[in-house]
Amino acid sequence: MTDLTRRSLLKALSAGAIASSSLSVAAKAFAVSREKELNILCWEGYNSADVLDPYRKLRSATVHAESATNSPTIVNKLRAGETKVWDLINVDNPWAREFMYPNNLILPLPIEEFAPYFDKMLPFFKYPFDWSMSTDGTKLLGMVQRFGTNNFVVNTDKISRKTAEEQGWKLWADDSLKDRYAINIADDWNVCHMFAIAGIDPYREHTKEEMELYTKTCKRIFANAKFVGDIAAVNQALVTGDIDVYLSGGTYTSSLARADGYDNIRAISPNKDAYMWIEITSLVNNPELSPLAMDFLKYVQEPEVAHTVAFAEGTFNPVAQMANPECFKLFTKEELDIIQYDSLEEDLTKCRADDIIPNYDEAHEIMVEAKRVKG
């Protein structure tokens, strides 16, 4: 073993000094590079080149966006410690107010800078819009853009819009729809809709009897379904006539078929117990938050960008900014038809915004079990 000498100690110290200074330079370089870097965790659409490329050019920035097709997956990334990675997070409405802010995963926005944008949104989203605010109503937690219904989608040649809206969830009250419907894979929404079919309010605590009824409903609905598939599969089956209706879909899903010219595919908001989602985009509680994060939030509020977001690749959705005439004029008649603009106002009055199901874990396990055993 070599003895520790003055020479070797000095050598070790200088090596350590070089290493630490290199690390500090690297850290500084990282901080500097964040000025031109933006990382977005979002639903599909915001990761589209149509939305991001103009911004990349505008700010000469490196923008990285990662998408998912369900909110829990997106939120889980922050829960697993990725707050250091992301600058913006875009998820369905309940998450910001009910979960992410109380758990210090997101930061509030400066109200004076962002509240004025709400003036140009549809009246439904008028400031202070509940879902973009903290539960005590004092903090602005995110900006609103895309929204849409999420109930069920019918082929109006088989089930008329009037019947579907009037009957609503009662369409599944008996076995008459056996093998005539599919279930779109969206477990969180599936749970909500199983409660709705059982005639139970999903967003409150449930009694033992209610959970028994919910269990029975899950088993029956999954046993009677023709299949369980993703958006592409359920839309395809609806178009070809394999099924007449699918559960857990809305303008978000029907717009794809309608864009292909199938006007008979229509998202339905039942007259009773209809549901909708609203996306909230928030600042991540990142210790090295990119200065571009707030800038991007403002950028997507621009009429042209809002229109692009509405028709970004993936799915087509209405946007809150459509109230702004500058934005609305960019939508063609065909585009308005694709997103079912004719019933948009009616839908907003009928639908209840998505919320956290208090016993979601238990309800989800019951549903997964029902899916496995199929009755």
Partner: protein
């Protein structure tokens, strides 16, 4: 057959590390090993974490494993479906691919064999999901098959979204993984041996059973192993073609990591699945003489 042994691996490793090339390649090997082991280590860590927590190694709980084995859920069905389907598809593919391999090695000329190889490899260049959706268009109502049947005056069969379609999808997706190792196995059988056996009066069946098949078996086993492992870990086929008429274990793992928000549960399921597949793989390796397969003995 030479047994697959730890001692043999140890001596090969020592020989490799003591060589100059081995020493130079060591940093890369360490990096690759870390890259391979670290994620598995994380999965293992999560599997022992408190249910529904989001950090590994900060808590210890056996609850995730207890829940799998205590019978409170029907997750065993998913394991059973995955393994049964994989075994069924592996058997079917072995039966289908063997004659094709014999044809390509012995009967067809090199040009035809190359052409057939390209035919089998070509689909791999297209995304699996795209190919599976292609089958939906083929088998679906008013699809290609239904359209042809209607032209002939009857309706096409309603076979989409069934366990059978899941099996078909698996067989279709993993056929190349069975075929090419089997071709390799069949190619290693010396033609002279077969001729000699035939000259000595052995029947075709006996020659195949006692000479050809045992000699081709390493390739067949490798193919079966590859197919079985990949099919057990597949999910798209049951989701797209099967319409979730059955739930496979990979789907349960996926749901645990997403909608259930229960990473430890998903990790525990992954660990159990890995153990099952790992045990089967080790057992199969004990039966395979890799040296013989590679023509080194």
């Amino acid at each position: 057959m030479t047994k697959f042994s730890v001692q043999k691996i140890k001596s090969s490793l020592t020989e490799f590390i003591s060589s100059k090339g081995g020493k130079c390649a060591l940093p890369v090997y360490i990096l690759l090993t870390l890259g391979f082991v670290a994620p598995l280590f994380m999965v293992l860590g999560f599997s022992f974490a408190t249910p529904r927590s989001f950090s590994a190694f900060t808590s210890f709980s056996l609850d995730n494993f207890i829940q799998i084995f205590d019978g409170s859920t029907s997750v065993w069905r998913s394991f059973l479906w995955s393994i049964a389907l994989a075994a069924f598809v592996t058997a079917i593919l072995a039966v289908v691919c063997y004659p094709v391999a014999v044809g390509m090695v012995r009967i067809f000329g090199s040009k035809t064999s190359t052409f057939i190889s390209i035919l089998f490899v070509f689909p791999l260049f297209v995304s699996e999901n795209v190919r599976l959706y292609g089958w939906i268009l083929f088998f679906g109502k008013n699809g290609v098959l239904d359209g042809i049947c209607k032209l002939l005056g009857f309706h096409g069969p309603d076979i989409l979204f069934t366990p059978g379609m899941t099996a078909m999808g698996l067989a279709y997706s993993y056929l190349p993984y069975m075929l090419f190792p089997v071709i390799m196995g069949v190619a290693l059988v010396p033609k002279d041996l077969i001729t000699a056996a035939r000259d000595l009066g052995s029947s075709r069946l006996r020659t195949w059973w006692q000479i050809e098949l045992p000699l081709a078996m390493p390739g067949v086993l490798i193919g079966m192993l590859l197919t079985f492992v990949l099919a057990t870990g597949s999910m798209s086929e049951s989701k797209i073609l099967g319409g979730q008429s059955i739930i496979v274990i990979t789907n349960d793992i996926d749901v645990s990591f997403t909608f259930s928000q229960n990473w430890p549960q998903g990790a525990a399921l992954a660990v159990v699945l890995t153990l099952i597949i790992g045990s089967l793989t080790l057992y199969a390796f004990k039966k395979i003489d890799l040296d013989k397969l590679m023509g080194r003995s």
